[in-house]
């Protein structure tokens, strides 16, 4: 069974960058340009999505709203926030909403992989293994 990670970012090059960094790991990237697209992907790959990497500043539905929705509707799917806008208070709010990691761009490959692995490990703990 594939290990999917949804990458939600409005910038295509950023999505490609994440894909590159996760390349060579067991994770397969599913790209979403907006929150609706990400929700579609979640429905479609409900059993195989192991984590969501989510941007904050996006048109229409922001990362804050999207992350809250994912945590509410897809409780077992951990969210990693990856933003270019460092804000301590925002980070704290995300953590309170159950977001596992809050990363500030630019991150190195090993940092991103470590964050996704940590998120997935937590999901495994909650779900008793997948």
């Amino acid at each position: 069974m594939p290990h999917h990670v949804i990458v939600l970012d409005d910038e295509e090059d950023v999505r490609k960058g994440i894909r590159l960094q996760l390349g060579g790991t067991r994770f397969e990237v599913l790209e979403a340009q907006g929150a609706e697209e990400a929700i579609e992907l979640l429905r479609e790959h409900a059993l195989t999505v192991e984590a969501i990497i989510c941007d904050v500043r996006m048109p229409k539905i922001s990362g804050v709203e999207a992350a809250a929705f994912f945590r509410r509707e897809y409780r077992s799917t951990p969210v990693v926030v990856l933003t270019g806008f460092p804000d301590v208070n925002l980070a704290v709010d995300f953590m309170k909403k159950g977001v596992v990691e809050y990363l500030v761009k630019p991150v190195e490959k090993k940092e991103l992989i470590a964050a996704v692995e940590k998120a997935v490990a937590q999901r495994t703990r909650f779900c008793g293994g997948s």
Partner: protein, 401 residues
């Protein structure tokens, strides 16, 4: 003479008038002997008539002035002229009891059947002098009041100017903070793309791109990160003396030299509410600047104090001071007076960001050639809890690297 004759009556009236005159009248002959004194004069100096008549006029002059008076009188008798009462003719008289009284004298020479006589009119001006003294004292007091008020106004004006400068500075910093955090987003996103592509590219060039991208990211973080308000749960009770120790150690490690002595005088101070690492960062940046501004064998002095709910740390160096034109700019990002490899000009900007965040303030006193003192103040967490008082000359010795 018949006492009832018209001539005798006129003489009596004249005598009555002379004795009743409000001014003292005294007549002295060419030799300076007193030949007449009216009642006012006698009362003024406290002599009975028989004791005064026949005495040299100097009996009425204080001893210290008697010789000069005698000489002047002799000169005057060679060419006597009328001298009216008035300003500038004030003297001192000596009463029988030895009391000195301020007097004003008018002189009028006259020839009589007994030779040349000098008629002197004498007024006791004690009361006038006392009033003048009181007026002078009032005037002086008034001048003091005016001077004091002027000083207060100047101080108030200076305080207003300082407050205004701080407001402008805070405003500028807030504007920069907003700007850089906005720009930060615009920089970080493409920077992430560059970095991830460079990682994928690998090789020497890829690694170089990654390294420089990280440097840019660090700069952006320094510009915007510290301005963020701290979340309540992140705040710790920080012992500023312990932070000073930690900062000195970091400075020692970073500059790796011992030619500048750092002398501490840490007082008993309450804790402050902040993030420990940020307070250490503030102290590290300012102490490092102080050491870098110093010459070999100079002393950098640190002092912590508690004053009216504020915890302050002063950092003094005996370096060259900050040029007046630079003082307004030293907190601006990327402003530096150091060489290209000694710093990017963010140190004091970060200091200002952190200090403002905790509602503290920074005061700067710098004179060209006399060194610089930074005083950094933070509000005390509360009045409970304080660190131990220590005096230390133990020399964490450092020098510019």
């Amino acid at each position: 003479m018949d006492p009832m004759s018209p001539r005798s009556t006129a003489e009596n009236l004249l005598r009555l008038a002379v004795h009743a005159a409000p001014a003292g009248i005294i007549i002295v002959n060419r030799e300076g002997t007193i030949v007449f004194a009216n009642r006012t004069m006698l009362n003024m100096f406290g002599y009975p008539e028989e004791e005064l008549l026949g005495q040299p006029v100097e009996i009425l002059v204080p001893e210290t002035l008697a010789n000069a008076h005698r000489q002047q009188r002799e000169l005057y008798s060679l060419g006597p002229s009328r001298r009216d009462m008035g300003v500038g003719k004030e003297f001192e008289g000596l009463t029988k009891t030895g009391r000195r009284i301020p007097i004003e004298i008018g002189l009028r020479p006259d020839e009589s059947e007994n030779g040349q006589m000098i008629v002197a009119t004498v007024i006791d001006i004690s009361e006038r002098k006392a009033i003048e003294d009181r007026l002078r004292r009032h005037e002086e007091h008034l001048e003091e009041l005016v001077a004091e008020r002027t000083r207060e106004l100047h101080e108030a004006q200076a305080a207003r100017e300082r407050a205004m400068a701080r407001l402008i500075q805070a405003d500028k910093m807030a504007a920069i903070g907003t700007l850089v955090s906005g720009i930060g987003h615009e920089i970080n996103n493409p920077l992430y793309v560059i970095m991830s592509l460079a990682e994928a590219m690998g090789g020497e060039y890829g690694e170089k791109i990654v390294r420089h991208s990280k440097h840019i990211a660090e700069t952006v973080k320094n510009l915007s990160g510290y301005a963020q308000p701290a979340h309540k749960h992140e705040l710790q009770r920080v012992d500023i003396n312990a932070s000073i120790d930690a900062a000195i150690m970091m400075v020692k490690r970073s500059l790796q030299s011992d030619e500048v002595e750092i002398k501490q005088s840490t007082g008993t101070v309450p804790e402050i509410l902040a993030k420990t690492e940020e307070i250490q960062q503030v102290l590290f940046n300012v102490i490092r600047n102080a050491v870098q501004a110093s010459s070999a064998r100079d002393i950098v002095e640190l002092e912590s104090r508690h004053d009216d709910g504020w915890v302050s740390v002063s950092i003094h160096d005996a370096g060259g001071g900050i040029a007046e034109g630079d003082r307004k700019k030293i907190f601006d990002p990327f402003f530096t007076t150091k060489g290209p490899d000694e710093g990017e000009g963010l140190g004091l900007y970060i200091v200002q960001q952190i200090v403002s965040k905790y509602e503290g303030r920074i005061d700067l006193d710098s004179k060209r050639g006399k060194g610089t003192t930074f005083v950094i103040r933070f509000p005390a967490a509360d009045r409970v809890g304080s660190s131990t008082r220590r005096e230390s000359n133990a020399a964490p010795r450092d020098r510019p690297g």
